[in-house]
Amino acid sequence: MRILVIEDEPKVARALKAGLERAGYEIAGSATGEEGFFLASAQAFDLILLDLMLPGRDGIEVLETLRGRGVKTPVLILTARDAVEDRVQGLDSGADDYLVKPFAFPELLARIRVLLRRGRPDEALRLGLADLDMDLLTRRVTRVGRALDLTVREFALLEYLLRHHGQVVSREMLARDVWKEVARGTPLDNVIDVNIARLRKKVDQGFAVKLLHTVRGVGFVMREAPP
């Protein structure tokens, strides 16, 4: 999978490159709109990460020209501007998704995965990790055959974590995807923490192998080995 990163801030660009390469993607970088545009029209990429505020050529302009030339590569916009008008403008210009800086890296990875597998349904009806088993049809969750009694919220939370198992899930992702909260800056973090604590109690208490881990400062992850 090849990703083109058009980002002028060197630190951010470096971090993006390193993080994405670690996640197994092949990265081409560009620091200006012109170069980015040239690369995007000359080579084939699976995804383009586009910063909106670029020297030389504005991100929106690059995007519009690309779309005008029939380049259909999915584009994920990264920008510090979060006003509704900015988002609408970005999406209207042909972007597929929009992420406001500063963003949590796990969320970026999750969005990239969504864009890359677009159109390919992977809605499994049965999820599991190690000896934890989750049946989405009967809504039954068991660990080593023992049923766990989860609330509706905890069930949704576990489902989301299992769908992203092995990947760190940030609080922002949980807020948006599990709690369906649109606004940032609500006291939701506490609510998430409380629910995670309860879920952890039900899933992990009394078992030697812990499955739900907290990655300090980033979020949570479901996996067998500690991070």
């Binding site: 973090d189 300090r216 400062g217």
Partner: protein, 474 residues
Amino acid sequence: MIVRLGGLNVRARLTLWYTAALACVLAVYAGIVFAFLRQALYADLDRRLRDDIELIHESLEATDDGRLVWRVAGHSGEADESGRPGHRWREVWSREGQLLLRTAAAEPLGIGAPAGAPAPGSEFEPVSLQRGGQRLRVLTGLEEIAGVPVLVRTARSEEPLRHELRELVFVQGVGLPVALALAAIGGYQLARRALGPVGRMAESARRISAERLNERLPVDNPSDELGHLAAVFNDAFARLERSFEQMRRFTADASHELRTPLTALRSVGEVGLQERPDDRLFADVVGSMLEEADRLTRLVDTLLTLSRADAGQLRLAQEPVDLVALARDVAGYLEDLAQEKGQRLEVEAAERVGVRGDWLVLRQAVVNVVDNAIKYSPDGASIRIRVGRDGERSWIAVVDQGPGIGPEHRDRVFERFYRVDKARSRELGGTGLSLSLAQWAVEAHGGCIELESEVGRGSTFRLGLPSDLSPQAG
């Protein structure tokens, strides 16, 4: 100081206007005086002419052959009252239009034959005639002298009358402009004196800048218009000063609040590098730094929201919102937090309470207030969210069992970054902005947020909103 208006200053314009007004009044006055005097003089002249006609009987007598002659020889050249001869013009005409007698004064020019005859004993209306460079006033009467009906014409010069009128015109023509000029000068001075305080006020206002907002305009006389104006200005300055002060405090507070996580970020990083970190410590240091970055992000997001709200950039939806549903939604959302502290979160509401507004914004306000209540109420307390309506006003009241808020803090808890208990609040992770946001949200919907509190017994935050009175609101 000169207030420029239409190219002229106010003083000059005022003076011009009332000088013009005065000129009009004086012109009318002068015209009326002239007309009255003229009429009075003519009336007097006419009365004398009538006397002259009556006196003709004394002057004439009939000879034996029926001719009329002056009774006194040489009477025809008699002197008039002024002693000057020849001023009294008299003519006696027969009814057939034949001149019978004529005084010496009338000799050279003659009054002329009367046109038509009046009824016996009556008189013609007096008329003015031009004779040889002078104007005469002529009265014609039908008299019967020694049994002979004759027309008596008598005339007097209008010159003395006209002289008097000319004098009047002269006096007015000279006097009125002088009076006008005096009035204009006086008026100008008066306007200058009256507008003087305006100049001083402008001078003072110029001196009052952002740095010296504590100064005020001098109020010479609080009960007159200018004093009132100065008071209004002073009021505006006071409000400006308050908002400047608020802004200054906000900037100072905001930089302090931003500096706190930055300091933590920096020192955690520096200390982490000083040690020889193993993987575990490293992860801990980075994690701790990320937490601070999160805090910064949240703070900046909230500040951005508030500044957009201040700038009026946030557009609010106008949808029907049921406050009961909203309260239940918020309660469901924050229930986990309350449970964690063993608190009971109860919604007390009967039927639907409809308002119009933006669900998300209102929800955020209620979430902030309820979250606050959960934070500050002790474990095991109960928090009630009451919803009700008093006619045009609908409200959500959040009743907590927290420590209460002292009267000295009551007005200020809605200020940005204001915290009743600074240490405690930071420990609980508050930004110090949630109540400000709640207040903004409620006020943006035309409502108001009120706080009742008793130290030691808890607080009640009451979010009042205008009811939705449209029929489908139910």
